[in-house]
Subunit: 344 residues, 2 copies
Amino acid sequence: MRTIAWRDGHIEIIEQTLLPHELRVVEIDTVDALVDAIVRLAVRGAPALGVAGALGVALAARLALRDGWSERTLAAEIERIRNARPTAVNLSWGVDQVLPSLPLGAEAVTDAALALLGREVAAERAIGERGADFLEKAVGHGRDEADEGRLRLHTHCNTGALACVEWGTALGVVRSLHARGQVLSVVVDETRPLLQGARLTAWELGQLGIDHQVVCDGAGPAVIGRGLVDAVVVGADRIAANGDVANKVGTYGLALAAGRAGIPFVVAAPESTIDLGTPSGEGIEVELRPQHEVTTWRGTPLVPDGTSALNPAFDVTPADLVTAIVTERRLLRPQRGETPAGRI
Amino acid sequence: MRTIAWRDGHIEIIEQTLLPHELRVVEIDTVDALVDAIVRLAVRGAPALGVAGALGVALAARLALRDGWSERTLAAEIERIRNARPTAVNLSWGVDQVLPSLPLGAEAVTDAALALLGREVAAERAIGERGADFLEKAVGHGRDEADEGRLRLHTHCNTGALACVEWGTALGVVRSLHARGQVLSVVVDETRPLLQGARLTAWELGQLGIDHQVVCDGAGPAVIGRGLVDAVVVGADRIAANGDVANKVGTYGLALAAGRAGIPFVVAAPESTIDLGTPSGEGIEVELRPQHEVTTWRGTPLVPDGTSALNPAFDVTPADLVTAIVTERRLLRPQRGETPAGRI
């Protein structure tokens, strides 16, 4: 099952706002419906949004052909897709990847979009396999014989199929290890304020039949400190040239705990996450999200009237705490001086 | 205002289940009402429960006199108070503190209970002042001149008046510093799963007029890593002989981040928290609380059906990460070899 797919001339997505309580696949056959799905976060996650952008151009080109849109109308509709979420660079990137095929017709654009989707799927698999190879070796000697050497893993937020297209990034590593019979259990941080771990990662692991337990984010470092996990594997929002990693807030505490416990802390992300234009984490601006995400839950206040909140979307883990960065192309060990920018 | 007090022959408590949305003081003039208040967590926190136990014996002695209870009935009622929450050792401790006065009559028991309350209030003040003295010196040179040298503090869970009697422990340190005009702002971890930080600490700081912001627990280490606070001050559930500290889960991540950032990590707690019978944190059994605290919020599921959770109530911070332990009697610096058991 894919989070986003192309079928009979329209887009299909898993309606993520209904998860974990209902799994519904929604057919999208207008630009309005696609923009609406993106705005409502019915489809989310950088890789999935890239594919949504590309397939969106294919959909628009087909509609233009069928309904006789002018070139100007078509261009305007494509811009609406591109700007559905202004800060999601992957959406715009997906649009740009297929635009060169537009003059060749709707079929050519569709082919280009499907090729991009195929590359995404392959990249996710490659990340999963490379991460699994690394962890099998890295944890090798410390494993408990009573568990037949299977791994106890710890992850944060949602980096599975739902954030991607089919396999996932960090959760894809877990999945590749599971396919090899190497996973004993997974600790899932609930990931406040939006609970992507509790809602989405727990759902994906349940679907995959992988044993898991949800913990509050504050318990993450404690679980590591008590020796209850063998390795931590997380995704990334941006990786600086020196190997500093920006990821969903709560990641830094896990990295500190993993460092102290002497267990691997692995970052799994596509090459597109690496930003050589940012020398280090110092240069990464931390997005502050709306306070109400912290101060209310489904409209009910959690704090006294008038209380303010600080709601950083992500945090920055220094490269010296990162055991490995795994992409679809390579394995980097920042602690050994291997950075995205080269050896230091 | 006190969380628990004695007025005209009955007990008064702040009804904490209504906070932060309503501040109501409830009169308690029967043993039934007291037991009910303790069971419902209308009064909570170790120091407050100790006082509740002592005042409860005074209340029972007065009712026995008025209503002509037999000695046996009085003893049974006192046992009901003692066992209202079986794991709360302070409740039982409070009862035992005043029992020797029982043969001397209801007035003598009341006097003993009020003396205990007075000692608690004095101890809280002493912790606050000693902690404030320490932090004023410890942070002295790193302070921002633009803020007139005032401190940006970080705390976890609720350690204020609501968990104590009047002044608080860790939040009492904040309060003592505030009384000296030394507090710029306080970062408050929301403290999942029960949100004592978001609900109770935010309310107390609001009442005191101290500037504060709530953060998700996962953001705590990040806020410290980004240099947004000058010191962390927390309470303790138990302190081992070697200085290892058990406290509400989420504390360990803050200690790791404070250590890396090179800022003071201060533990403020009464001497009664020190357990010389436990050599180190290794010997502290971590209480696992019900899964539903994590998996639901006010009855609404937060996770997919059937998802399990791991809900440790506290975590253990190793002594080498603790800059200072402050009690009503002394200041210990575990990093300098000063432990509750003596120098190492």
